[in-house]
């Protein structure tokens, strides 16, 4: 009994020792694995940090370069602007006339503005005015008799109940037409009328139908004669005559004067 107990105790002790050594070995293996993994983790962390640092460096360099590119782009734009300006300057300064060309639209717009300005001026200052002394037809005295009213109703063939209203209409129309002013320019100064007739030959017809158009026509004709047909406004008549003679002489060579000048300049340069 005792020996059996001892054997059993030995057996158990041996089994416990085996279990202990097994778990110790197991623990030591796991510990080593842990230590290795931990070391690897540290290494990887270090690696990550260095990569992050590198990335930051790259980013800052990228930003630096991007800023530099932007600055270069800006410089390129500035230089292009300078080149454009220089080209324009060269183009303008080497032109024989020394001025930029004026486009046809500028003339069209200028003329339209002038025309509208003139119409506006006439309307503002002469819309309410009267041309000539006005004569009023006095026919209403002749038409004013009572018998005439009867004639009207009979002639128009309207019923007696409608006679009053019809008469009202007829008389209104008659009054309006008879009281319409008719311009009479005969009392105006003869010399002035002669000048007016030269500038606006149809003035008599226009005065009665459209005085605004007549005044516009008058001023336009004066502008054409004194301004647009002048050789160059500001030159005295002698100077203008002299220039005209020179231009006529040069034009006799078959080309417009400015072309001749251009050819001369081109030869000289």
């Amino acid at each position: 009994m005792e020996s059996e107990f001892t054997r059993e105790l030995d057996k158990l002790s041996k089994s416990e020792a085996e279990t202990t050594s097994f778990w110790q070995a197991k623990f030591s293996a796991l510990n080593q694995t842990f230590l290795r993994t931990d070391t690897e983790l540290r290494l990887l962390r270090g690696d990550l940090e260095s990569r992050e640092q590198e990335r930051e460096e790259f980013r800052s360099r990228y930003e630096l370069l991007a800023r530099e590119i932007r600055e270069r782009d800006e410089e390129i734009r500035n230089l292009k602007g300078q080149i454009r300006g220089l080209k324009e300057w060269v183009s303008t300064s080497t032109r024989s006339d020394g001025t930029a060309r004026t486009s046809d639209e500028v003339f069209g717009e200028g003329m339209a503005r002038l025309g509208n300005g003139l119409l506006n001026w006439v309307l503002v200052h002469f819309r309410r005015g009267r041309v000539g002394e006005c004569l009023f037809f006095l026919w209403f005295i002749f038409w004013g008799g009572e018998g005439v009213k009867g004639c009207w109703s009979g002639w128009m063939g309207i019923l007696s109940s409608e006679v009053e209203s019809a008469q009202g209409f007829v008389w209104d129309t008659l009054w309006c037409s008879l009281l319409t002013p008719v311009p009479d320019l005969s009392k105006s100064d003869e010399g002035i009328l002669e000048e007016l007739g030269r500038l606006v030959p149809m003035y008599e017809d226009l005065a009665s139908t459209s005085k605004v158009n007549m005044i516009q026509s008058l001023i336009s004709r004066l502008l054409v004669e004194l301004v647009f047909d002048a050789y160059f406004v500001g030159l005295s008549s002698e100077q203008a005559q002299h220039f005209t003679q020179v231009e006529t002489f040069l034009s006799s060579f078959g080309e417009k004067i400015s072309v001749i000048y251009m050819v001369t300049v081109n030869k000289l340069t």
């Binding site: 006339d97 020394g98 001025t99 060309r101 004026t102 046809d104 500028v106 003339f107 069209g108 003329m111 503005r113 002038l114 025309g115 300005g117 003139l118 119409l119 001026w121 200052h125 002469f126 309410r128 005015g129 009267r130 041309v131 000539g132 320019l185 105006s188 100064d189 002035i192 000048e195 007016l196 500038l199 606006v200 030959p201 149809m202 017809d205 226009l206 005085k211 158009n213 007549m214 516009q216 026509s217 008058l218 001023i219 336009s220 502008l223 054409v224 004194l226 301004v227 647009f228 002048a230 160059f232 406004v233 500001g234 030159l235 220039f243 080309e255 417009k256 400015s258 072309v259 251009m262």
Partner: protein, 141 residues
Amino acid sequence: MTLNILKREADQRMQKETANIVDAVVQKVNTILDAITDIRATESRDQALKVLVSSSIELSRLLVVQRAVFKVIMPEILPHQRIMFDPSTMEDMGGEDEDNLEERELCCVTFPGIIKRGDESGGHLQYRNVISKARILCSPE
């Protein structure tokens, strides 16, 4: 070139002659209109007219210095002469449809137009281009 020199110097050196022309136009307009209308000239009316005349002088100088030939046209309508509406150079101010204006007689030219001959370098004088149409009024049918 010569005309460009004149144009450059015109503002300073031709002030007197230019002012004379402006005054001459205004005075002529006033003489005629004072005689045929019942409205007398006023300072503000003259001033507004002077601005218009000065603008037309500026425009005329600009036209003269171009290499192309610019001509300001204003047809003259004489009694007993038939001048017909030309849609290519005229613009009716009566508000009528242009299709109805063919073969219609002119009654009044209210404002001149501009015709250009030649290109911008002064060559090809056979080319003709209407820059601004003359403003006219047709006679009633």
